[in-house]
Symmetry: C2
Subunit: 353 residues, 2 copies
């Protein structure tokens, strides 16, 4: 039994997303079959659609911030039952046998995780298709339980934007007494503010443009620093245990390094590529500071985040869109014209276009 | 009472070191007066002599790997007595009141430590002069005790080359089961091999030039990788918890980052400046890897290193030189023609030139 599914796909780097009928693989005994309710729009989706990283496989169905309802489960599935509200993030499988997977760091699987889309299923070698579609079939180990009290629409972005900022907060042991900086106020940045605040730390937003102060404070920012204002930057010298850099394009880092405390870390979560201008090592050496990277988070850590958000009532600030408006949503995302994440109402797939 | 001292000084960026008579400040009640026996030659000495960093103050008496014998102590000094064999490293004072100093991280003093030379004494505002001289006067808190069984000549480089590699080994918790890489086989690199091995970790030397294998193994290297050989580099992918980069000039880092394990760190200890070519962040993100810097070490940590070396019988491999040959020694150092550190026999100051 295969499953016919309607979705939206990109068919080339230069054309808009269009409706696309495709077949999902046979459910296995350890699979969960999920009706997709909502799917967040991530900047990564656009990178893949446009083939920015040169590894896109078309037709490409994006989407890895998936919230859905369980339709059925395989005979070996123990953790889920029909009607459960569940989530699927960026990964749907991994080798589950390497030192990374054994530590719950499936995102750093030595044999590379199977991604939710634009990947090849490691078991049957079929292409994977993402959440801009009616249904998805996922191994239960990579399915997350959405806490009952959490609004499922606003929970969608937790699966990528949320976990991407949560993972470094946890790895670098942020809590009460910590000082955290967040660069950029987009999908990731606004989650970083909320989560850092909820962890009890002091949090400062860095932004290039004045005018975001009020919104930043509402989201949890204790301070807002205009990064082009040298005086303001100097005033937070040596302050931060961790700076989470969510900017999705290459940008200047050297003015941020002296703002780290001794032993502090600036962690890049948004930009894979060459640092331009180049990094100067002197302030790294003079304060045992680090520049690090971090990629999404492990499955157990994602469940931890969802449970934390359930407990603290944290969801993303979202704007709902219909699937037919997805191409327009990308344009607005590029202009930062969204507060702070688009989520597609997947029932709109049934709308007559 | 001031003390007249003969030393060797640089009088400008472009002239060789010459004999130089100067006056040391009055000893204070908490000072130790030290007759200098030996002083290591560090690459930093040459940077200051040549004004490479644009902050040299002439006349400049270099030297911060100092071994000496206590001549006298102030009335408040409790830890030292005449005839003790002692060491002085890169710092002779700090604010002793900031969060860094309070953690024993005087090297990262928020008000900048007072350096052994080319600095201004923070108490009486006199210039500081280094170890290429007969005597030095140092606050007892910044004087180190040299273990009895340690050869004092070979102990001199522990005060800078030794502690500069020891501090990251300790900070990143290297021990049995760890995998450490060392880039470069000079004064710092050869100490990094010895210390890493003595800590029980596996250690790999990276070098550009074949022919160093035998010496590297003698110094403790388990493996030697020729960094220009792509096959050899690939064979150690994902291996290292820590890579200590001792190279004192700008160089390519991107081929080393994938060699770090998940959560691994490459720490720069030798090169303050702009990274050329620029760093690519992708392998940082894809393995939560870090690029860090580290600067010498704190005073308590330096004593810990000396005690460790006393226990394990570790000293630097040195070549003794007379002070009149110091300018020649710099030339040879620049050609890597030393195994692995020059140490000046300071009694040669008395030689008739």
């Amino acid at each position: 039994m295969t499953i016919n599914v309607l979705g939206y796909a990109s068919t080339s780097a230069r054309t808009p997303l269009v409706p696309y009928n495709f077949v999902r693989r046979n459910p296995r005994v350890d699979d969960v079959v999920i009706e997709i309710l909502y799917c967040g729009i991530c900047h990564t989706d656009l990178h893949y659609i446009q083939n920015d990283w040169g590894r896109s496989i078309y037709p490409l169905v994006p989407g890895h911030e998936i919230i859905g309802r369980v339709i059925s489960v395989g005979s070996d599935v123990g953790r889920f039952k029909p009607k459960d509200i569940v989530g699927v993030g960026c990964m749907i499988d991994s080798c589950q046998n390497c030192s990374s997977c054994n530590q719950g760091l499936e995102q750093y699987c030595k044999e590379v995780p199977t991604f939710t889309y634009n990947s090849i299923d490691r078991r049957d070698k079929t292409p994977t298709f993402g959440g801009y579609s009616e249904k998805i079939i996922v191994n239960e180990k990579f399915v997350l339980l959405i806490p009952k009290d959490l609004d499922p629409k606003g929970a969608a972005p937790l699966l990528c934007a949320g976990i991407t900022t949560w993972s470094p907060l946890r790895h670098w042991k942020i809590g009460k007494g910590s000082n955290v900086g967040v660069i950029g106020l987009g999908g990731l940045g606004h989650m970083a503010l909320k989560l850092t605040k909820a962890l009890g730390a002091e949090v400062t937003l860095f932004t290039r443009s004045p005018g975001k102060e009020q919104n930043a404070h509402k989201l949890g920012a204790d301070n807002v620093v205009i990064s082009t204002n040298i005086k303001q930057m100097d005033s937070v010298n040596n302050k931060f245990d961790l700076i989470i850099d969510t900017v999705p394009y290459t940008h200047e880092l050297n003015s941020y390094i002296p703002l780290l405390s001794v032993n502090g870390t600036l962690v890049l979560v948004g930009f894979p590529g060459n640092l331009e201008p180049t990094l100067n090592t002197t302030p790294l050496i003079m304060g045992r500071r680090s520049v690090a990277g971090s990629d999404i988070g492990g499955i157990a850590e994602t469940q931890e985040l969802l449970d934390f958000c359930g407990k603290h009532g944290i969801t993303a600030d979202i704007e709902m869109v219909k699937i037919k408006d997805v191409n327009e949503a990308y344009k607005r995302m590029l202009e930062s014209d969204v507060k702070y994440r688009f989520v597609i109402d997947m029932s709109s797939l049934k709308d007559k276009v």
